[in-house]
Point group: C2
Chain length 131, copies 2
């Protein structure tokens, strides 16, 4: 994979953010350093980087995809009100595969626990940040 300026800065900025940004949120951040970058470039690079396993693509709640520059093993909670995603610390992940009794002939490549809940902000406000 060719190292372009755009690719480098996208990765760098994503790694700085702890917010699991959407593509357009990251685009706004990257734009401060590369004002002429296209949103298409951001999408294309996030795709390439996640294929390469250098970042994680998070798909929750049927909304916008979110991206995580931290690829160390951890789980996520999705706030059903505002769509925010946060980290969840859990015990060892590998126990999960031991739970499988019948996978119907699938070759299982990966597994993960996904949580849904209400984030601290929405608990206080009893409504969404973004709705």
């Amino acid at each position: 994979m060719r190292i372009t300026n755009q690719r480098e800065i996208i990765l760098e900025e994503l790694r700085k953010l702890k917010t699991h940004p959407t593509a357009d949120e990251l685009y706004e951040v990257v734009r401060k350093r590369l004002p002429r970058i296209s949103i298409a470039t951001v999408y294309r690079n996030l795709e390439r980087l996640s294929e390469a396993g250098m970042i994680h693509k998070l798909e929750y709640g049927g909304r916008q995809k979110r991206f995580d520059g931290d690829i160390s093993p951890h789980s996520h909670v999705f706030c059903v009100k505002c769509g925010r995603i946060s980290d969840v610390k859990t015990r060892d992940d590998s126990e999960i595969l031991d739970m499988v009794l019948d996978s119907r002939g699938y070759k299982i490549l990966k597994c993960g626990v996904q949580f849904e809940g209400i984030c601290p902000f929405c608990q206080q406000n009893n409504r969404s940040q973004k709705d």
Copy 2:
């Protein structure tokens, strides 16, 4: 929730299918019984029914949502090649919440294990059914 003909038949047909259909796949099936039904009605009802907990909405892989008329506790595998979703039998689900060490102030509403893999069909063909 009012019981309309459309709503009844959508639920009935979804419960018959073991394939975790997308909204448009279900639309094609329902259309055989209600030729004048609109895809919007299918979407609206799938939404209402899943809010009511009568069906499950499955969101995997950033593709089309899939729906499951079987709400008994079970997990799913998503085939990364063709997008098919199948059931996975696992041991008791409640152990998962016990795995949480730190949920960052979120009130956790639900949790689930998600698996990704290659379905038997794609293993044989070494390519996707739909690509």
